[in-house]
């Protein structure tokens, strides 16, 4: 097949597969934003590997024209990491639910932060376990009871942004999926960021979550919109001198503090970003070939172990 010369458009990222989300599901918007971001960045579909966990969210890759891996519940990060390590040239994206990412997959969410492999992780924050019929997810606040729950939550929610920062993510942002333009933009920024980027993607689940609805999210409280852009309030999450530990810590602390704002006001945008060495860059020191050639293309089949054997003699 010849290399495509024309600019890639939204349609190039669409896979015509029967969709099984509920009609009003917020996932449609996320799908749209991801496709737009890829088009915006003109990344050829065959260079994209889209990984997902299990859940309504997990079905997303099936609707994207890109290599799609719909893995296991909670296992999206190590899978995506493996692919990226094997082929650095790929744009690797991981998507999944808040149950998938913060419940069963929590250990992998956290430990991926430590690695800082150059990829993007978008967690769909809908407050519930969608595909298993609306149990409370780890993002649901204590005392909340969605229509799908028999009793209110008696555990605290965890704070995705604070945890992402505590575990080393070098990009942590929140987007609201129904604001297509802004959400697309954040996704593009996340993809372009070098290192592991994390997006807390606010998603409506009209079927089960009657608390975090479009109306609630988009309404004004005391005349101010509940959802607001951090940048609009002069917030700057970017570390300008990553070698300056003090700046790094200050920016982290600032981001964590702001991340606790969730109620009458909900901040959107980039909470924190720093350009630190990626895992791949660290590997280049050990494995110089890593800098030039994707691992899968290394001629490992040509190895001889004869000399190695002799070291045992």
């Amino acid at each position: 097949m010849a290399v495509t010369e024309r600019p890639l458009t939204l349609n190039d990222y669409k896979e015509d597969e029967h969709n099984t989300w509920c009609p009003q599901c917020g996932d449609f918007a996320i799908l749209n934003c991801i496709q737009r971001a890829l088009a915006q960045l003109q990344i050829p579909p065959h260079m994209v590997a889209m990984y997902s966990g299990i859940g309504c969210s997990g079905k997303l890759p099936h609707y994207v024209n890109a290599f799609g891996f719909h893995t296991l519940h909670g296992r999206v990060m190590p899978n995506a990491t493996g692919a990226k390590l094997a082929n650095r040239n790929l744009t690797v994206m991981a998507v999944g639910g808040d149950g998938d990412g913060f419940g069963i997959g929590c250990g992998y969410f956290i430990n991926a932060g430590r690695r800082n492999v150059d990829m993007t992780y978008i967690v769909f924050n809908n407050g519930v376990y969608g595909l298993t019929k609306g149990q409370g997810a780890p993002t649901l606040q204590r005392g909340m009871k969605t229509k799908s729950m028999p009793e209110p939550a008696i555990q605290d929610n965890l704070n995705p942004i604070a945890l992402a920062i505590g575990s080393g993510y070098t990009f942590a942002a929140r987007a609201y999926s129904l604001d297509i333009k802004a959400a697309t933009d954040i996704i593009s920024q996340a993809i372009e960021h070098k290192g592991t980027s994390f997006i807390d993607m606010v998603q409506t689940c009209p079927t089960y979550n009657d608390l975090m609805t479009k109306t609630w999210l988009e309404e004004k409280v005391e005349d101010r919109p509940r959802l607001y852009q951090l940048a609009g309030e002069g917030y700057d999450g970017v570390v300008h001198d990553p070698s300056n530990v003090h700046e790094v810590i200050a920016k982290k602390a600032q981001a964590v503090e702001r991340s606790y704002e969730w109620g009458d006001r909900i901040p959107l945008g980039v909470f924190y970003q720093a350009r630190l060495r990626t895992y791949e860059e660290e590997l280049e020191e050990r494995l110089p070939e890593y800098a030039t050639t994707p691992l899968v293309e290394w001629e490992t089949g040509e190895r001889s172990v004869d000399a190695l054997m002799d070291t045992f003699r």
Binding site: A49, N111, V296, W298, G301, S304, V305
Partner: protein, 635 residues
């Protein structure tokens, strides 16, 4: 002493340097032209607990250890008299294992008084090791460092050992001076000197009469063109992986698997291989799958507790028809955390049914270093050809036993990456293997039906090769469907590949048959018992008992026909396994209907010694005991 067969044992606290000493001694013996088989027993502990290492040096290659030793070197009191405080101990020390006329080298600093010991028929060689070391260091003006260098008292003991066995001290010195060069040359020289002083001290203590005569053993022994390698199974495994073109190994530390990963890690720069330490075994296997998705030859290595966390990954890799990964399962004593540093072949049935549902995967269990090398190489071709994950079953005994090996060879050292998608094929209309298109009109289909059941596989980055993979049941394009007909076709496709593998994998890789065809007793076994079985067969053969051995190596797809044929004419069958329940026995019966009426089992965390197995086999022959339970009554 058995003719041409000498066993030397060193015991001491963990962290006290017995490993290095024993391996130095093993090398020494090997360089005299003898063959060596050695093994360590140690605790799941960092420092202080008792461990010991046996080195068996023989004219012919042996593959197991002997319980009876000729020389014991005691670096601690426990080696001499066992453990005092321990509840429930059966460990009486290793002096009990010395043959009559054998020798015990010990440190007089332990305050142990040989006179109080019940053994009057052994030669006691008590040396003041620290004084001897000081003497050696003095010559280098480093007497003051004696405490810091106290681990070199082991060298003194080694030197003494060389005298005791009637060896030539020059060979030992040579090892030290070869090993330490450049800035570290002095260390080599000091060791060489310490060894010589130990030698002389023993000579003096024994009035110049060595109980053993190594030189007579080595008469006629020659080293060949090259010295033999001194190998442990993890290295044979690691080298096979490198040879097979491994791109990435993921792991999480666990005994006894870690050594293999650390070995590869140490070769990262030289061999250009990526080794990733993960946050746990779930991550290890999933990362390996992700890398395999992307086209890499990917492996992970673990032991039982880690494997228990990998099982979901095996099912996932299987339903998505990934080319791999290969999981190297180094078994240890179970269940649960169990006996982390001890031997057991307890994970066979688990490895065979490791997850929910019916799905294909390969399980192979090599029995010695050469087989480890072959299987660890070839298994990567299998996963690439059949698009399924594989498990290589190994164990602590294979991992840690240290022996002379002349060569590791492959009859067909060809790397076959299996059916891969080629964009050009797509234009010819058969990029998907030209199979059932399931309603899709064009484009590549990663799960299209093909004659063989294997669909050429694309990898991310290949234009035209976009596909989807899901752990749910899926259609030829890889999208979810719950359609009944598709389900059946997909199950048949996946499971059919296992039959394909069964047809294509050569018989020689499936089973091994050793010994005379007309044997009176046929042993069935697998994995690391192979060595003990071969040695026991030799002993029995000398007694005129004809025994043969059917080793089952490929566990899945199970070689039904080969095993049935091999066992068909057997006069008397006996199973030998290093586990409680005789897992292979059940498998053989399930697969072939053949009932093995006698089981020889051992499940105390130690491998079969040659004598134990010989005795158990004698019992199998002379009685109808269904369950012959071998137990190790040393430490």
């Amino acid at each position: 002493m058995r003719e041409g067969d000498l066993t030397w044992l060193i015991g001491g606290p963990q962290g006290g340097g017995i490993n290095v000493s024993a391996e130095t001694f093993a090398k020494y013996a090997a360089r005299t032209g003898l063959r060596v088989f050695a093994n360590i027993e140690y605790h799941s502990n960092i420092m202080g607990e008792h461990s010991y290492y046996r080195v068996r040096a023989s004219r012919e290659q042996r593959h197991s250890v002997l319980d009876q030793v000729n020389v014991v070197v005691a670096l601690d009191e426990e080696t001499l008299i066992g453990r005092k405080h321990a509840h429930f101990t059966s460990h009486r020390g290793h002096v009990a294992e010395v043959e009559s006329g054998g020798a015990v080298v010990f440190d007089t600093a332990t305050k142990f008084n040989p006179e109080t010991h019940e053994r009057k028929d052994v030669v006691w060689v008590g040396l003041s090791m620290m004084d001897l070391l000081r003497e050696a260091l003095r010559e280098f003006g480093r007497e003051g460092d004696a405490n810091r260098l106290r681990v070199m008292t082991n060298t003194v003991a080694l030197g003494a050992s060389v005298f005791v066995i009637g060896g030539d001290i020059g060979g030992l010195a040579e090892i030290y001076t070869e090993e330490f060069t450049g800035r570290r040359a002095q260390i080599g020289e000091m060791n060489a000197r310490a060894a010589a002083i130990g030698y002389e001290a023993a000579q003096q203590a024994l009035g110049g009469r060595a109980p053993y005569d190594l030189k007579s053993m080595t008469v006629g022994a020659s080293l060949g063109a090259k010295r033999p390698m001194m190998l442990k199974g993890y290295a044979s495994c690691g080298m096979a992986k490198l040879k097979a073109g491994l791109h990435i190994q993921t792991y999480y530390p666990i005994s006894p698997a870690t050594d293999e990963s650390v070995f590869l890690e140490s070769l990262q720069r030289d061999q250009n291989v990526l080794v990733v330490q993960c946050e746990d075994e779930i991550s290890s296997i999933q990362m390996a799958i992700g890398a395999a998705n992307a086209g890499a030859r990917a492996a992970t290595s673990t032991s039982g507790p880690g494997f228990a966390l990998m099982v979901e990954g095996i099912g996932y890799a299987s339903i998505t028809e990934v080319s791999g990964p290969v999981i190297f399962l180094w078994q240890r004593g179970g269940p649960s955390t169990g006996l982390p540093t001890r031997e057991e072949q307890g994970d066979l049935l688990f490895a065979l049914h490791p997850a929910q549902g019916d799905f294909p995967h390969i399980v192979v269990a090599p029995g010695d270093d050469q087989e480890i090398y072959e299987d660890s190489f070839e298994v990567f071709n299998w996963v690439d050809r059949y698009h399924m994950p594989a498990v290589v079953l190994l164990d602590k005994y294979l991992q840690s036993s240290y022996k002379t090996v002349d060569e590791l060879t492959l009859d067909n050292p060809v790397i076959d990456r299996g059916p891969r998608f080629n964009p050009a094929d797509l234009q010819n209309g058969h990029g998907d293997g030209n199979g059932h298109r399931g309603g899709y009109e064009d484009g590549y289909l990663a799960f299209a039906m093909t004659e063989s059941g294997v669909t050429p596989r694309a990898i991310p980055g290949q234009e035209g090769g976009i596909f989807w993979a899901t752990s749910d049941e899926h259609n030829p394009r890889g999208h979810i469907t719950e359609d009944a007909t598709n389900r059946i076709e997909m199950m048949d496709k996946r499971m059919g590949k296992l039959e394909l593998a069964a047809r294509e994998i050569p018989s020689a890789r499936k089973i091994g048959v050793y010994g005379p065809a007309d044997a009176d007793l046929t042993i069935v076994g697998w994995g690391s018992v192979k060595g003990s079985v071969l040695d026991a067969m030799d002993v029995l053969a000398k007694e005129g008992v004809k025994v043969n051995f059917v080793q089952i190596r490929l566990m899945r797809p199970f070689p039904v026909q080969e095993v049935t044929d091999a066992l068909a004419g057997a006069k008397r069958l006996v199973l030998v396994e290093c586990n409680y329940s005789g897992q292979l026995g059940g498998l053989v019966r399930e697969m072939t209907g053949i009932h093995i009426p006698q089981y020889v089992v051992k499940y105390d965390g130690r491998p079969f010694s040659e004598e134990e197995l010989v005795e158990a086999l004698r019992q199998a022959i002379s009685t109808d005991d269904a369950r012959i339970h071998v137990s190790h009554l040393s430490a």
